[in-house]
């Protein structure tokens, strides 16, 4: 389950003013319960590891065992602003531009759209385009051009909108 999907579910819960919502699929159990005015979210992976969710300030999801009455985090996104992190899906070498002399695909302050190319990662002589999962603004670039990146390494912070 992606962060986007969870956000959509939260929006639906809010829109339809549901008190509680539960979903179970592919080993993931999601429970949303309204607490006061805000819904609380518990995501519990059936496997042992937290979901590979982007961990950013203000994100509403916490991983917790299903059985516990989890003290869920408050949703802090009522104004629709939060930072999302684009992480590297592969191991390779990070490039900010299509060729050494070209301008970077994106820089801090740029507005990006979902599926827009943010960078290239070279793996086994192939250039892999890494695209944004969000509409928003680039607020940080974590890696220098030409540096190796590992799986799951942070590449960009995006202020999603």
């Amino acid at each position: 389950m992606t962060l986007d999907e969870i956000k959509q579910i939260l929006d639906l819960v809010r829109e339809h003013e549901l008190a509680e919502f539960e979903l179970e699929q592919e080993g993931v159990k999601l429970r949303v319960r309204k607490k006061g005015q805000e819904p609380a979210v518990v995501v519990s992976p059936a496997h042992t590891l937290p979901l590979p969710l982007v961990a950013a300030p203000g994100v509403a999801a916490v991983a917790a065992p299903a059985a516990e009455a989890a003290p869920a985090a408050e949703v802090a996104e009522s104004e629709g602003v939060e930072l999302a992190v684009v992480k590297s899906p592969i191991v390779g070498t990070f490039y900010r531009a299509s060729e050494p002399t070209a301008a970077p695909f994106v820089s801090v302050g740029d507005t990006v759209r979902k599926n827009q190319v943010l960078c290239l990662i070279e793996a086994m002589k192939l250039m892999n385009e890494i695209t944004s999962e969000y509409d928003g603004e680039i607020v940080q670039v974590f890696v220098e051009n030409g540096q190796p990146v590992q799986y799951g390494e942070r590449l960009f912070a995006v202020r999603a909108r």
Partner: protein, 454 residues
């Protein structure tokens, strides 16, 4: 010699390779999945790269991630360990294309030995005795019936590309054959991606004997004697020893020569193991060759004093074997117990104690704050002991296991202690049917909880 080796594996074997590299002054790169971030192989390598999520297919089995990790760290060789990609001709080929040395035999040898029915034919041609069988994949029931009738029941159906006991079916009569054939083909397809199976005469209670070899790229091949791994549960080896209690020096020499000749015939240049079954009359039949380091290589190291991993790295770098056949001397007897987590799941063992003392070697990735991810195999430690003879090696093993403390999980240590106390085991009256017999009467105590499933 290599400057930097990437170890495409995890757990105790990754650490074992790191030990060899450190002694040789070679830098190491550990790769890890998100489940292994705090594992010891990551801590003791010079560099490390996260290559993917916990699922093996997206990390330790993912060739592009491993090659990329080697490229970004500048590793000039990859050691695959055992399991995972250790017998992947594809990885060996990609390594060749990327000018990274794969520490193992050539892709063509891996491929030949990986197709069990082809390997059988090649070995037969090289003068190695094989079990009577179909000499090729069997597709239809009619074909299978004809082959089985000529072999005589029982027969065993095996996956052509198999290993580890999967895709195997023992058939005792013609009525069971059709069903067993379909199941084995389905299992082979699911487990190995290729549904080919072949038939072989099934030996009821054979001993499992295997010969360790080392070859270099200059045509030299030596053998390091045999290991016996007859104590198995569901085709998984539990206890291995070197030498076998029943192989005579004359038989060892003949068997070793036969294997060395066969390995030379296929151009084998690395560490490898040729596995045989031994019937009640002490006849040996080739079953398969493993083109990699094996879990149980340590017992051979204990009795020969040869570091197989270092030698494997040297020959991969193009060097000649550092010793000749005449210089291989066996001393005493060694035993290994594989300590497994009995119901693997993530756990944090409370500070445990790994055994020590004279004649004991422990290869493990477990430490006080270690976790055992449920994503991978359940082996947590290999406890090995060496003695002047089998009796002393067994006594040391019993003492070592009694002094082992692992809390927080169930392990196979209690079962090993029971096996070591068994009269038949002590008298070396063992075969691959040993565990079946051994586990049968031990079931009733329901309260004991973890009686191993039959």
């Amino acid at each position: 010699m290599f400057k930097k080796i990437l170890i495409a594996n995890r757990g105790e074997i990754a650490l074992r390779v790191i030990c060899a590299c450190r002694e040789m002054g070679i830098k190491t790169v550990a790769v890890w999945s998100e489940a292994d971030e705090h594992s010891l192989h990551v801590r003791f390598a010079d560099e490390d790269v996260c290559i993917g999520p916990p699922r093996s297919s997206e990390s330790y089995l993912h060739v592009p991630a491993i090659i990329s990790a080697a490229e970004i760290t500048g590793a000039d060789a990859i050691h695959p360990g055992y399991g995972f990609l250790s017998e992947s001709a594809y990885l060996a080929e990609v390594c060749e294309a990327c000018h990274i040395k794969f520490i193992g035999p050539s892709p063509s040898v891996i491929r030949l030995m990986g197709e069990k029915s082809r390997a059988r034919r090649a070995m037969k041609k090289a003068g190695v005795s094989t079990l009577p069988g179909s000499d090729g994949p069997v597709e239809t029931e009619e074909e299978a019936q004809a082959v089985a009738a000529s072999l005589g029941y029982p027969v065993i159906i095996k996956a052509s590309n198999g290993g580890g006991g999967r895709g195997m079916r023992i058939v005792r009569s013609g009525d069971e054959l059709a069903q067993a054939l379909r199941t084995a083909q389905r299992e082979a397809q699911a487990a190995f991606g290729i549904g080919d199976v072949y038939l072989e005469k099934y030996l009821e209670a054979p001993r499992h004997i295997e010969v360790q070899i080392l070859g270099d790229e200059h045509g030299n091949v030596v053998h390091l004697g045999e290991r016996e791994c007859s104590v198995q549960r569901r085709h998984q080896k539990l206890i291995e020893e070197a030498p076998s209690a029943v192989i005579t020096p004359a038989q060892r020499e003949a068997l070793g020569k036969m294997v060395v000749d066969a390995a030379k015939a296929v151009g084998y240049a690395s560490a490898g193991t040729f596995e045989f079954l031994m019937d009640a009359q002490n006849n040996l039949y080739f079953i398969e060759a493993n083109t990699r380091l094996q879990v149980e290589h340590g017992v051979t190291e204990l009795v020969t004093g040869i570091d197989i991993v270092k030698e494997q790295i040297r020959v991969a770098a193009g060097e000649r074997l550092s010793f000749t056949q005449d210089e291989v001397k066996m001393s005493g007897h060694a035993i290994e117990c594989r300590v497994n987590a009995e119901n693997p799941q993530t756990f944090a063992p409370s500070p445990g104690r790994v055994p020590g003392g004279p004649g004991v070697r422990v290869d493990t990735f477990v430490h006080a704050e270690a976790t055992v991810p449920p994503n991978y195999d359940s082996l947590i430690a290999k406890v090995m002991t060496h003695g002047r003879d089998r009796t002393e090696a067994i006594a040391r093993m019993r003492r070592a296991l009694e002094m082992t403390v692992i809390e927080g999980i169930h392990t196979s240590v209690p079962m090993h202690l029971r096996i070591l106390a068994d009269e038949d085991f002590q008298a070396a009256r063992i075969s691959t049917a040993f565990m079946e017999r051994f586990l049968a009467p031990a079931v009733p105590s329901a309260g004991a909880g973890k009686a191993p499933a039959a």
